[in-house]
Each structure stands twice: as C-alpha cells, then as structure tokens.
Symmetry: C2
Subunit: 408 residues, 2 copies
C-alpha cells in the first residue's frame, strides 16, 4: 500500500487559516462508519435565510444522497439549512436501502438541529455497494448538534477525507460597501476524478446575501471551468457534489456582482488544483492548454484526450518529453485536427511546428522542463480562435498500489 497514506509530494505547505463565516457552524465526530479512530462525519448548520446552490455528478448510476440533494435545490430558505457528510461509505448502488439511509439521516438532522427536512443536504463518500450503517450516524446527532461551533471548518475538512493525503481548504475575501465578504471552501477527492464532478465533495460557505438563482448560476458556471476541467484517471464518481451556501449574515447583497462571482471562481480553482495535487499517486501537476480550435468544446475534447491518455501520463511520470504521444492523443480524440498545422510546446520549449519537430527543438531543454513538478503542455491546432485549459497529474506505480487494493 505504498503511497496510500504518504503525503502527496505536490501537497501545499500547510492548510490555510480559514476565517469564521457568520451564519454557519460546524461539528465533527467519530461515528465509526467504516474507519476506526478518526472523525468521519461533519455537520454544518446554516442560519435562516441561507440560499443554497449545487452541482452534482451526471453519472446515470448516481448515489441516493445525490438524488436527494438535487431534488431539494431552490427550496424556501426561511427555516435555515444543514449539510451532513459522512466518509467511509458512499451509499451508492445500495438499492432501496440507499434512500432509506438518506431518509433516516435527514430526519435525525432535522429533529436534532431544528431545520426542515427539505433543507437538509447529505453526502456520502467511500466504498460503493455496501449498505450505509446509518444508525451509527443517527446515534451521534445529539452530540454533533451540541458540538456545533463557528471555527470548526478545518476539522470538517479532515472528517470528509477518504484516500486524500491532506485536507483541502481555501479562502477568498472581497470588500464591498465598506464591509468584508468572506468565502471559504473545503474539498475532498483524490481518485475517480474526471469531468462531471468525479469523487469529489466540495462545500463552500459565504456570509454574502445572494438570490438563489444567481448563486446557482455562479456555481454552475465556475464549476464548468474548474472542477469539470480536472481529471486524475478519467473515472467519474457516483457521488460528486459541490454545494455552496450563502448565509446572508453580512447583510451585504452581492446578487449580480461580478467581483463576487470572480472570487468564487478563484476559490473553486484553488480547491480544484488541490484535488489534482492529491491525485492518487501524483508526482506532477500538469496544465494542458489547447488553443486554435474551432470551438471551445472541441478544444476541451482534445485537452481531455491528452490529459486522460495513459501513455501521455506515464511518459510524464517518466519525465520523458514524449510529444509523439500528445500527437497520438489529439488524433484519437475525435475532434477536428490537421496533423500538418499542429504546434506543441512543453513549458517554454517549442517542440513541434507545422506537423513536425521544430527546427530549434532541444530535447535537453524539454527534458529539463519535464523534471520539474509543474508541467505545462500547450497545443495550438491552427484551426480557429477557441481555447480550453484542463489540469491533471501523472500516472505512477502508486496509483496502482492504491487502487489494486483499495478495499482490503
């Protein structure tokens, strides 16, 4: 199990100091859902007036908690809200037991926290296909409710981890009307990461006041450009969820404000990068930009084909500037490309132009770039003006160690 618990070499130096967000309190507890001796449940309670937006996996086999959350978006904020997350068991592909477990937990949160059940959002992450022992969570709800406190978010970031090697958090602030608006977020995720949310859970909290439809638009748009542009292994989870709650406790209304939307986008990108940097077995953080496409959708198809190619990812692990495999990935993507118009850069090194090796190409320079742990691959298709950028990591022995024996 080499690499399973070792800290990712791409981990940030430290978990950020996350400020209190007025209107939300947190608690965590060790319920023994699957893991012993660690906290595995987090509860966030939100004040009346909180608007909630979310984006979820598009998997056709999505888990019961995801279906429940999707049905609840846009509800009346008057009664407040709560978010409960457990790690260790995904409550996915659990048949009718799945919905029963969600109902049991939602009712227990509602009763203990005094929040309407239609405003209780839950997520579960961990093993698929085993019934969730929801009584273990339900039994802890009185203690969880008693433990709620304003500064509990960093503990919450730890409680939702599975194979993550570090907790993930981010903060953004903006000034408005002489007041500071705070946005904080936490995330988990390190494998089964691909567009459409992957095994990733993200919770974002702000004290801004914002109309639900505007919040939903911001969350959807920025998720598409951040969380839906990262991939570790092309696999997509049945449970992925991004939930954002705006308590309004600052009294400042940001509905329609571009600087708020920009701050949310920055925070989401920060968290998305942290997820990639904790990709199972990752030793390189890789940014792939495809420009010169006819449409941005086609640019993203090419970029994802490169990012998900096992041959590209193993070459990066081997520090090999193997641009031939980049050409291969473009060729197989299915989106338009003209071999003889392609140009490719690794970092600042122009590798290929006009369908062949650049006259000034230096393998030594390219190899030097590949030795770093931040790799940039840029492809210009020469067809149009559209671009896309995606982020991924390399494919190493540690990925196989982790995933060939995850359940045992």
């Amino acid at each position: 199990m080499a690499g399973k618990t070792a800290l990712s070499p791409l981990a940030p130096a430290r978990f950020p100091d996350l400020p209190v967000v007025d209107g939300v309190t947190f608690a965590t507890i060790a319920a023994g859902v699957r893991y012993a001796g660690r906290s595995d449940v987090m509860l966030a309670k939100l004040v009346p007036g909180t608007t909630i937006a979310g984006v979820f996996t598009r998997s056709s086999t999505r888990a019961a908690p995801v279906l429940d959350c999707q049905a609840k978006l846009g509800g009346d904020p008057a009664g407040g809200a709560a978010i409960l997350v457990n790690s260790g068991n995904a409550n996915a592909f659990t048949g009718k037991h799945g919905a029963e477990s969600v109902s049991a937990i939602v009712e227990a949160v509602s009763i203990n926290c005094g929040v309407p059940s239609v405003r209780v959002f839950t997520s579960s992450t961990g093993v698929i296909g085993e019934p969730l022992p929801h009584d273990r969570v339900v039994d802890k709800l009185p203690d969880l409710n008693d433990a709620l406190r304003e500064d509990g978010i960093s503990d919450a970031a730890r409680a939702i981890m599975t194979t993550d090697t570090y907790p993930k958090g981010a903060v953004e602030t903006i000034e408005m009307d002489g007041q500071t608006i705070t946005i904080v977020g936490i995330a988990k995720g390190s494998g089964m990461i691909a567009p459409d949310m992957a095994t990733m859970l993200v919770y974002i909290f702000t004290d801004a006041r914002i109309a639900q439809d505007n919040l939903q638009a911001i969350v959807s748009t920025s998720s598409d450009l951040t969380f839906n542009c990262i991939t570790v292994d092309s696999d997509t989870s049945t449970s992925d969820s991004v939930i954002m709650a705006a308590t309004g406790a600052s009294g400042v209304d940001v509905t329609g404000d571009a600087s708020f939307a920009d701050a949310v986008h920055r925070l989401m990108q920060d968290l998305a990068f942290q997820v990639v940097r904790d990709g199972e077995g990752a030793t390189k953080f890789v940014e792939i930009t495809v420009s010169g496409a006819d449409t941005s959708a086609n640019a993203k198809i090419h970029a994802m084909a490169i990012a998900n190619s096992p041959l590209v990812k193993t070459a990066i692990a081997g520090q090999d500037p193997n641009w031939g495999r980049v050409v291969m990935a473009i060729g197989k993507s299915g989106a338009p490309a003209d071999r003889d118009l392609l140009s490719i850069r690794f970092g600042d090194v122009v590798v290929a132009e006009d369908g062949w090796v650049s006259p000034q190409y230096s393998e030594a320079d390219a190899a030097a770039h590949m030795k770093g742990n931040e790799i940039n691959i840029a492809v210009d298709l020469g067809l149009g003006e559209a671009t896309a950028t995606v982020w991924t990591c390399d494919l190493t022995h540690a990925y196989i160690d982790i995933n060939a024996d995850y359940r045992s």
Copy 2:
C-alpha cells in the same frame, strides 16, 4: 524495465505452424532502422491477380504510410502486389519527410520486385516523430527480393514486433469444391491498443480467389467485431492497419461464401485475442459482455467504458471483485442505464441484481474467479435486447515500467 522483454504470462504455448499459402512469398532482413541485431523489415510479394482489402486507424493524425495505403485500395490486381513493413520507426508526425520516405520505399520495392508502385503497400511501426531513415530499408531491397521464399511467414511475424513479447500468428482452413482453402495471418501489437485499430499491424493471406469489394466487406465487418472490440489502454495509434491479400492461387472462388467469411472472422478474433494477451503488463485476459441494451452501439459504449476504466483495470490486477467500480463505469459512459435494473456477474457468480448486491452473492466465490487469469464480467442493463462483447487486460506496474521509459 521489468516486464518489457519478459514473456507475457498470457502468451500462447507456442507459435502455430503456419502452412504455405500459394501465391505469396516472404523475406525478412535486419536493416538497423532502430534496433540492432534483429530483423526489422518484412517483405511479402503477391502474384498477379491478388485482391487486397484493408482497414486503417481513424486517427486524424494518421501516419504517412497509412494515407498512402488507403489511397491504393481497390487498384488493378493484374500486376501483382507487395507489402513492406518496418519496425522501429512509425514514420508518423514527420511532416513532409513522411511522404518522401514512403515514396522512396515504394519505388524501391517496385523496381526490385517488379510490382507497379500503385500496388506496393507499406506500414511502419515504432517511435513517432522521428524521420524514418528510409535509405537503410531501400539499400536492403535487392537482398530482400533475393530472399523471398514460400515459408517465410513466421520470420515475418517476428520482424514486425516492437514491444511485443511474442510473435502472433493464426491459421484457418476450409474445404470447398474438394479443395482446401488456407487463410493465415500475423499481427503485432501490445500497447496503444483501442478501438479504431490501435498500434496494431495485421497481415492476412489466403489462396482463395475473391472479388475485391467482397473481400473489403469481410475485412471491414470482421474487424469491427474483433480488432475494434479490443482495448489495452484506450490509446489509439496513428499507424494501425489490417491488410488482407487473396492470391487466388487455389483457383477456388469464394466470393459471397459465408463459410469463408466465418473463417476470416475466426482468424481475426484469434489474432485480436493474441494482441490483448500481449497487452503491456497484462496478467489477466478480460472478456466484458454487456447485454440488455437498447442498441448494440450503446452496449459497446458501456462495455468499452468498463474495459477502459483505470479503476476497474487496477481492481482486476489486484484480484478484487470490485463490482462497485463496474457500476461507476456504466454510470460515466454516457449511454442509457437504469441503476435499479442492473445485474452484474463475475464469471458464474451473480454479484448484483436489481440495483444492489445479490442475496446469494458470495465474495469468496467472486474472489476465487478473480484469481484466475481469464476473467469474465457480464452486465445486463435490463433495457432491451442488444449486446456487445469486448476484450481487454488488467493495468499493472509493468505497464508503467514499459511506458514511462519507452524511448530511453
């Protein structure tokens, strides 16, 4: 480089005895294209009247030899034909040099073998993006032509290998009009294998007489159900080619004959399985069948999503009956599925029914199946009557060893 040269544990016991096919002769030689001390060029010369059919990669960055072959299909068979293949260099993404190398080799074959240049088919396999030193091939053509002999096909199977750990050959015979019709084939390929031909070269020879359009139909149809249903790593080569030549030397015309088409299909499946069994790092041969789909195209989308999932493939490597990852792969495929109608079998073990673990599921039985080196995964979607079967292998450390350092 562990695993690069070690024989695949899934290799056949021995290379088959391939009989002579009247009307075709073979020669091989060590031209030093890239490798020293091994044969790396094969030449096959075909008698006048030989019809030729082919199927090629659909990559948009396909190599120069592929473009040249595609343009030549369906030509006049009166002058005979020749096929020349080199390993070590793919002559792919080599700009204008690519077409120049093809022309030089084609002209040399034409002059030395007395075959019209429009009937000379070439393939190249190996490293992408480096100019092919075609003079090394051209210089050997007089010796190659002198060495042509009827029984040279097993040497040819070795000359076209790259990272293959064993040569691949197959034979089928059918009786017709009191005569035996012989079909033999050779193949290379062990990585970058995915639908639309992958890095795979296949050459099939028969002494049957058959109209070119019927031969093309048989090659296209059977390739779709064999070579286009295998995947090692989801990556698709720029060079893949299946070329079939019918010399007509037996004098028996098989145009429109179903038993001939069936024999070609069996031979293609045999070779396709041999390619999967030599998948880079493979320790398990995996058959994946999806039934109960609304259309066969959607059945294949699901089957390929399972076959290409790194999480499924690493679980198989770890001998883990992790059916949750099969559910995940179905969910992400994009084709229709209803979580609560799914049933899944590993071998004979019913794992899941009606969207949850089967009541009679035995993890011990499923784990016992996973310990074998022939794994069967069957999914029924419960939506309709369409099915698809694909074949793949597991994802192991050896795959990474081979591909993180291929060029050095």
